[in-house]
């Protein structure tokens, strides 16, 4: 296979683009996709300070690298989730990436700084671990961005992530969620702007970007995410993509173009009904936000010993 641009040997073939790229032009392709996304959705303005939510995985490290290479002022935030060996290892990848490039990484540890960890929260609430994990990430990333004076929080959600979430929300017609499933959410009182610059790039492209750029990342999957619903939606969409390349992209971007506005009023009504959390000030539909309720419920709980170990390297 030859690179579409220079006709030199390709390192990757992208069926949905019907294109092959050498390493140099693949990196250029990724940068162009991110540049287009940021410009089209007005995600980041010149001079903005961006806080990248960094997990140590391929998407967040690739995003941080891409933003810096495109000239944006981007720091990272790593949140220690307390998921045993898995979290220890993910933190190392994030720290190594930052130190090798001279970038600034902010760190928050759920157990040390807040008082609980994801396995304990899951046990106390009797809900799937991803629930407490997602809630904690959203809350603490927002808080860190506001406290640190950042203009936007950037997350590494890629096309596969967004298509899978859309698939799940559509299966259940979760119209409140559909109304806010956008690649950029504007800032409002107590909350920073949130942007997803990788929505034009597939999961495989982000992993390939890391390999080509020499970015070491955590390949192993979170031991607590195994078998979750989100992964099932990705498998279903990949089965469709296998016989219909480009289906995921069409599903997501046609939703943005043709349907997302139908749910906008609902999302606006929901936003208008929010008030400041009595404990932390974060906008919430109730008196106390879900994160503060989680902190309260887990206070004094005996830390749960993680029984699932991360697979060996």
């Amino acid at each position: 296979m030859k690179c579409r641009v220079c006709r030199q040997p390709a390192v990757i073939d992208l069926r949905r683009h019907n294109a092959n790229f050498c390493a140099e032009h693949f990196v250029e392709h990724c940068r162009e996709q991110v540049r287009r996304t940021i410009d089209h959705f007005k995600m980041v303005a010149p001079g903005d300070r961006v806080l990248v939510a960094v997990s140590g995985g391929k998407d967040s490290l690739a995003l941080w690298d891409l933003l810096v290479e495109l000239g944006y002022d981007a720091d990272g935030l790593y949140l220690g989730l307390g998921i045993g060996d898995y979290s220890d290892e993910s933190g190392r990848y994030a720290r190594d990436f930052a130190s090798q490039r001279g970038l600034h990484l902010v760190e928050v540890d759920l157990r040390d700084d807040i008082g609980f960890d994801v396995p304990t929260a899951a046990a106390v609430t009797k809900r799937v671990p991803c629930s407490a994990c997602g809630l904690s990430k959203r809350h603490l990333f927002d808080r860190a961005a506001i406290d640190g004076g950042y203009d936007a929080v950037a997350t590494g959600h890629n096309l596969d992530d967004e298509a899978a979430v859309l698939f799940g929300n559509t299966l259940r017609w979760n119209i409140d969620y559909l109304g806010r499933q956008l690649p950029v959410l504007p800032a409002r009182a107590g909350l920073p702007r949130k942007v997803k610059p990788l929505v034009r790039l597939a999961e495989r492209e982000m992993a390939a970007y890391c390999v080509v750029r020499g970015i070491d990342y955590q390949v192993e999957e979170c031991p607590m995410a195994a078998g979750n619903r989100h992964l099932g939606y990705k498998e279903a969409l990949n089965a469709i993509e296998a016989t219909s390349p480009g289906a995921k992209s069409a599903f997501y971007f046609e939703f943005l173009d043709k349907a997302s506005h139908l749910f906008a009023n609902r999302a606006q009504t929901e936003r208008d009904g929010l008030q400041a959390c009595q404990s932390c000030g974060t906008p919430t539909p109730g008196e106390v936000c879900a994160f503060c309720r989680l902190v309260e419920r887990t206070a004094g709980a005996t830390p749960v010993e993680l029984t699932v170990k991360a697979p060996p390297l």
């Binding site: 390493a23 982000m206 999957e221 296998a242």
Partner: protein, 66 residues
């Protein structure tokens, strides 16, 4: 050739030469869900891999609901 798979990590011996696309078909792996890395370099699906090559088939799907 030695073929390393991840999540969980295991190593298979596969007879070569074989093209990447045929190897993935033989292992029943959908090509959009993995990268194929030969001797630490990314390779596309038409690449012919030889007995002496070290191959890693790296999954690219990650989960979590956030």
């Amino acid at each position: 050739m030695q073929v390393t798979l991840r999540n969980p990590r295991r190593v298979l011996e596969v007879a070569g030469p074989v093209r990447v696309s045929a190897l993935l078909d033989r292992l029943e792996i959908h090509r959009d869900t993995v990268l194929v890395i030969r001797n630490a370099t990314l390779v596309p699906s038409d690449t012919l891999i030889e007995d002496a090559d070290e191959i890693e088939i790296r999954p690219v799907i990650s989960g979590g609901s956030s």
